[in-house]
Amino acid sequence: MELICPAGTPAALRAAVDAGADAVYCGFNDETNARNFPGLNFSRAEMREAIAYAHAQDARVLVAVNTFPRAGSVPLWERAVDDAVAAGADALIVADIGLLAYAAAAHPAQRLHLSVQAAAANPDAIRFYREAFGIRRVVLPRVLAMHEIAAIARAVPCETEVFVFGGLCVMEEGRCSLSSYATGRSPNMHGVCSPASHVGYRDEGGRMVSRLGDFTINRFGPGEPAAYPTLCKGRFRAGETSGYLFEEPVSLDAAALLPALREAGVTALKIEGRQRGRAYIEAVVRAFRRALDALDAGRPIPPGGLQALTEGQTSTEGAYRKGWR
């Protein structure tokens, strides 16, 4: 199975490649990609250099152009596709139907991956994209259960890629407007979820209050581990209940499921976190590289390493595990 790793900066890309990534995914520094954060991502020149660096070490680069083009400004996204192809991208990760149509027509030889943002959660949806645009791989939503992943991998005429580590979307990706409801800026349109520009932290007598737009998202006691104010992992009230109504602030860790994922015929494993620092990327990629090497050699997944990365109660196998729903 291929190990697909995130990179938000050229330094992070080099760290991922050096730590054993088979492929790195990244995006241009604008709203065409779904991690459009301040100070992050690649200029055109940086992208060319990064691809050269990766190729020199036998690693591939997948360029994400995976937001939904703004009506009236579609050429901005088409240029991103053209430039990624020209820079030598090994594949483009695309979500929008119109942009897929453009990429397939303008660059018929280019390998296309269907972004998780396309929310293709079953074989019929995947078949649509395969037949219409010739996608070679689909990135599956994080809301699927293990047996559904296996069924999809068996049924579809293309490769499958699944998330194994990092941020966990509780809601189906590409169909969530929670962020724009509070801030006016959304993953689909602007490539941001709960953008930093709308985040505020306030100290209330030792308790830290996090706000998103005009709404209080969480309140942390002194010393209590904090979380970013993504709406789906905030504390709210409903009736008599108060707390993490949708999901606790946890991260996904499917390391223990690697044997099952291989058994299911999954092609590639994806690590989330283009917005994270080099330290995170290097550590997580190295750990998963070791785990995959062990798996390939028929050894048990090395114990402890990944556990320590995730800190007990803060990791979950998410929807992959029975009972999450």
């Binding site: 900066t9 100070g39 100290d203 979380a227 970013y228 993504t230 991260s251 917005q275 330290a279 990365l309």
Partner: protein, 195 residues
Amino acid sequence: MAVTATTRDDAAIPVVPRPISAAIGVLPLAPLGTALGLVLGAVLRRHRRIFDRLGTHAGKRFGLRPTDLPFALILHADPARPRITLARRLPRDGLHARIAGPLAGLAGLVDGRLDGDALFFSRVLSVEGDIEAVVALRNAIDDAGIDLLGDAASLLGPFARPAERIARTALDVAGGFLHPTGGPKGGTARSGPWN
């Protein structure tokens, strides 16, 4: 993997011992500030790419408060004349954002050994003010590949190597902290903030 096996993230971040902190506290600020300003200013000038990544946030003022030291730093990220000044405490006005945490946490952030989100989640670091500017600064610095001690020591010319060695040893002793993949790795996985 060199993972610090701790149950609490912040337990892995060394804190400047109180006697040392107290000793620094009685030093006159001016010479220390001048020296530090020279060193860090030079580091920033050496890594010009930081200002490209800062984009519209270049020119902003960041207050950095090491919680284990009796002074604070003000970073003025002005591309034309980046500078760092020292103060007994951060001013109430004129700062776009404030970042507070133990010196080792702040330093680890600067040279990329620590993941900023993890430090924040584990409450080692706290941030206030223009969070977007803080995120931009963090990303810009993470990409720059700053080697804080190496860069600073190189300014000392022929004395660089010995000075760097002494500084590294001091920090190593302070926290067993400078391993390339060390740091509070337990915290790095504390939830992806931006899904």
